[in-house]
């Protein structure tokens, strides 16, 4: 399986730069999610890879094969050997399920008999072999989604593209399909690009995640890297919840760094990226589950605060604590004790789960 390599890709629509000089490699056989809020350029990136629009600058390679480069030529969509699952499913309403799934094979001039077998295999894979003779409108939303997936994999393309394929399904079905897609991807191992704005979907499905914002790539990494070591406050905010403090790095040793946070006397210990030097300013990201809350008056040192909202969610408490400095933080506590409004508390952060994010000096280019 070839990888998908994108170099210095740029696309403008009128005044808006939808994709601004991005470079990334979607590794072969991996499922990579492109994650970001709407308008971040993720769908444009996918459309550029699919060939629905042409880049203004930059190039796209599938393995060693040049796919698109305005200076050197553009391979049309139908010659790229890709499969795609659309948000709207885009099942052709006038064709039966079997004809929808078999269309790519027909275009590849696969003989009728082999074609029928391949269609059957693809439909078996999505557990819809009984629906071959139906029309799309006779199927439920989830079934239509699976037909769309079968159509995309039936002719064993080199690259598989997903454009928010699950956003039209209800929550329960979405979770089932997530597992199913992951399972199928493990079996066939096609290089896949999965565009979504749903962080849970991205984290559960993909080997790596590309987070985009305002037409640029903010960070690339495994779900765990992105959650625990966000390189940008937008990444920290977009993946999960977090509390951000203005902070400057004041010390560093092998294990931990220390940051000074405005309004606090003592520096706080935390983790920081290896390349950050003393004196750098930025944000300290403290995940809600990294906060430890105890009733005030204990012996341990801590910040003082008061519970200003307490929500019982079953397995956990979601607390909002107003710190004495004036800032309100979100806290998640396992439900071992009862909290109520106005409780005076002492708050401590787990240094291993606090991460310092340096403020970017200039637009960074990542590869």
């Amino acid at each position: 399986m070839p990888s998908v390599r994108v170099d210095g890709l740029r696309k403008r629509f009128g005044e808006v730069v939808a994709v601004d000089d991005i470079s990334i490699e979607f590794r072969d056989g991996e499922m990579t999610s492109v994650l970001g809020p709407s308008g971040c350029g993720k769908t444009t990136t996918l459309n550029l890879i699919a060939g629905f629009i042409d880049p203004d600058r930059g190039s796209i390679h599938f393995g060693e094969r040049l796919i698109a480069d305005p200076a050197r030529g553009i391979v049309p969509s139908n010659k790229r050997d890709i499969g795609m699952v659309f948000q709207s499913y885009a099942l052709w309403p006038h064709l039966r399920v079997a004809d929808n799934v078999g269309y790519g094979l027909k275009m590849r001039k696969v003989p009728r008999f082999e074609r029928a077998a391949a269609v059957r295999r693809a439909l078996q894979r999505v557990r819809l072999e009984d629906c071959a003779e139906r029309f799309p409108h006779e199927l439920s939303g989830g079934q239509q989604q699976r037909v769309a997936l079968a159509r995309a994999i039936a002719y064993a393309p080199q690259i598989l593209l997903f454009d928010e394929p699950l956003s039209n399904l209800d929550a329960k079905l979405r979770e089932e399909m997530r597992i199913e897609i992951k399972e199928i991807h493990r079996e066939i191992g096609i290089t896949s690009v999965y565009v979504t704005h749903d962080q849970a979907e991205a984290m559960s499905l993909s080997d790596r995640i590309v987070v985009m914002g305002e037409g640029r790539i903010l960070q690339v990494g495994s779900p765990r890297e992105l959650y625990e070591e966000p390189a940008d406050v937008r990444v920290a905010r977009f993946l999960g919840r977090t509390n951000l403090f203005e902070a400057c790095l004041v010390g560093k040793d092998a294990a931990l760094a220390r940051v000074r946070v405005e309004g606090l006397d003592a520096p706080l210990p935390c983790r920081a990226p290896a390349d950050v030097t003393q004196g750098t300013c930025g944000s300290l990201s403290v995940r809600p589950e990294a906060v430890l809350v105890r009733p005030a008056g204990g012996a341990e040192p801590g910040l003082r605060g008061r519970v200003c909202a307490a929500i019982y969610l079953g397995s956990v408490w979601q607390l909002y604590v107003a710190l004495d400095g004036g800032k309100t933080i979100e806290v998640q506590q396992t439900a071992q004790r009862v909290w109520s409004l106005g409780d005076a508390v002492s708050v401590a952060f787990d240094p291993q789960r606090c991460f310092f994010i340096a403020r970017p000096q200039q637009p960074r280019s990542l590869s």
Partner: protein, 549 residues
């Protein structure tokens, strides 16, 4: 594709160029001065323009007066037989104005009209009604344009969210105030747009003033161009070109005005598709009054003219009592006598309508595909160019054709080709409207999915897009066929002996007072149209079975 675009550009701009060239040719070099002085002095011209104005001032208000109560009856009352009224209200729309005016002339011509014949027998001294007058013209014209008012306003009233009215009533406004402050302002764009549509229809209408006005010397702008310029001896082509340009300019301005009124989506944003149905007024005993009104409307627009046409087509002698022994098929035999022009006229019309509709459909299919899938600058350009013929009523197209295709290099005059070219040009916008809207209903993802599967442009069009737009294509073909087979307003300018069409033969027979022949041809035309509609419906149904949407 490029060939289709070039064909479109040629079809629209070549005659247009000649039309303007012809206009400037007036006065042989002393163009502006000649226009200001001699032109307006042409005998009868100012009279014809005033007649046109009279016709507008009479027929537009009358059309509203006829249609608005009907809209109210259908959308807001519990009048019985509403389904029938709804169908009947658009029937005059389907009836060609030529046939309607012939029907009314047979009813109310001063001497021979059946109503007047009956009146004489009952002792009336003069004619009861004279349809060959300005009031007759206004009456028939209003009947035949009222469906445009009905359809436009009814669509808005039907979709109007009743909660808007209820909100006003709850706030303490009376019913009258609610109508004035809520209902009227909301439906005003629709009413204005219907008004403009009706004005353009009246301006371009040829058959009604041709049948009812011309015999008594009442000319409007279209009949003036024909009788006083084109069939004048010697023909005054420059005068025709100037008047056609004038007509086209007026129509263009009106259309631009209309698209401004409808533009900005005002009509669609204030009147959402959601909300609940309007309240139905319980009329009690009064509902029979509203029913009576609806029945009279249907009688005047559809029932009476059709009844008299049936009578005229089958009766052995005009004026004979309608009893079975007086009915015969002899009129059909004599009308379609091989030596007469009616037969060849029908053949010509069929050839023109089938080939014209087919060629126009193929052309508009490609153009519509380009409009909906091309790059933006050429998309809007083609869209605009294909709408230009909307501002060219039949007589305008015909005069432009006469200028463009009379001499080399395209000497088509005297053949069926010039009629074919005129028809295709005239009805292009209809096809483009119908087929582009079919394309627009298809999500772009369908074509993208085909491309991803490996289908090139041609294969994707053949396998995916075309099957999906096929119902729209069939509908477009049908619309153009029906319009072409009854075409009069440009054919009358372009035919020569031997290339008559059915509508032209009808007008000729009318002038020779061969009423039964005209009635026979009317019924033939209607029958063919109905058969085609049934056939296309059946075909579209078959398409649906093979692939429901």
């Amino acid at each position: 594709m490029a060939a289709a675009a070039l064909t479109l550009l040629f079809l629209v701009f070549y005659p247009l160029f000649w039309l303007f060239y012809g206009s400037f040719a007036y006065g042989e070099g002393s163009f502006p001065r000649a226009l200001l002085t001699e032109f307006w002095q042409l005998p009868g011209l100012s009279r014809a323009l005033l007649n046109t104005l009279d016709l507008l001032l009479g027929a537009v208000p009358l059309a509203f007066l006829l249609a608005l109560p009907l809209v109210f009856i259908v959308t807001r009352t519990d009048t019985p037989l509403k389904w029938l009224i709804e169908i009947a209200a658009i029937l005059p729309f389907i009836t060609p104005p030529l046939i309607g005016s012939v029907g009314w002339a047979l009813l109310a011509a001063p001497r021979t009209g059946l109503i007047n014949v009956l009146g004489r027998e009952l002792g009336a001294r003069g004619p009861l009604l004279n349809i060959y007058s300005m009031s007759g013209l206004i009456f028939v014209m209003a009947l035949y344009v009222s469906p445009y008012v009905y359809l436009t306003v009814q669509a808005v009233m039907q979709r109007m969210d009743a909660s808007l009215e209820e909100a006003s009533l709850i706030s303490g406004a009376s019913v009258a105030k609610t109508i004035r402050n809520v209902v009227l302002p909301l439906s005003l764009p629709a009413i204005l747009s219907a008004g403009i549509l009706v004005v353009t229809r009246i301006l371009e209408e040829f058959a009604i003033p041709g049948v009812l006005g011309a015999p008594s010397g009442i000319y409007t702008i279209t009949t003036y161009i024909y009788y006083q310029a084109i069939s004048y001896v010697p023909p005054r082509y420059e005068v025709a070109a100037l008047l056609a340009s004038l007509l086209m300019g007026t129509t263009a301005i009106l259309l631009v005005l209309q698209s401004h009124i409808l533009g900005g989506g005002r009509i669609f944003t204030t009147v959402s598709g959601k909300g609940h149905a309007p309240r139905i007024l319980r009329l009690g005993r009064w509902r029979y009054l509203t029913l009576a009104y609806a029945l009279i409307y249907i009688g005047a627009t559809v029932a009476l003219p059709y009844m008299v046409l049936f009578y005229a087509a089958f009766v052995s002698q005009w004026g004979a009592p309608p009893v079975p022994s007086n009915f015969t098929l002899a009129n059909f035999v004599s009308t379609f006598d091989p030596t007469l022009s009616a037969r060849s006229g029908l053949v010509n019309s069929l050839i023109l309508a089938v080939s014209g509709a087919t060629m126009a459909t193929l052309l508009t299919l490609i153009i519509s595909y380009m409009i909906t899938s091309g790059t933006s600058w050429w998309r809007s350009g083609l869209d605009f160019v294909s709408a230009i013929p909307l501002a060219m009523p039949g007589p305008v197209i015909a005069v432009a054709m006469l200028w463009a295709y009379q001499g080399e290099p395209f000497a088509l005059y005297g053949t069926l080709w010039i009629l074919l070219v005129a028809y295709v040009t005239h009805y292009l916008p209809y096809g483009v409207r119908t087929i582009t809207s079919s394309f627009r209903q298809i999500s772009a993802d369908f074509a993208r999915a085909a491309a991803v599967c490996g289908a090139g442009r041609a294969a994707g069009f053949r396998d995916i897009l075309f099957p999906l737009v096929q119902p729209g294509v069939l509908a477009g073909w049908m619309l153009m066929f029906i319009s072409m087979i009854r075409e009069l307003s440009s054919s009358i300018f372009l035919f020569v002996p031997g290339t008559e069409t059915t509508a032209v033969t009808m007008l000729e027979m009318w002038q020779e007072a061969r009423f039964s022949g005209v009635a026979v041809l009317s019924l033939t035309l209607i029958t063919i149209s109905v058969l085609v509609v049934i056939l296309v419906r059946a075909l579209a149904g078959a398409v649906h079975l093979s692939g429901p949407r």
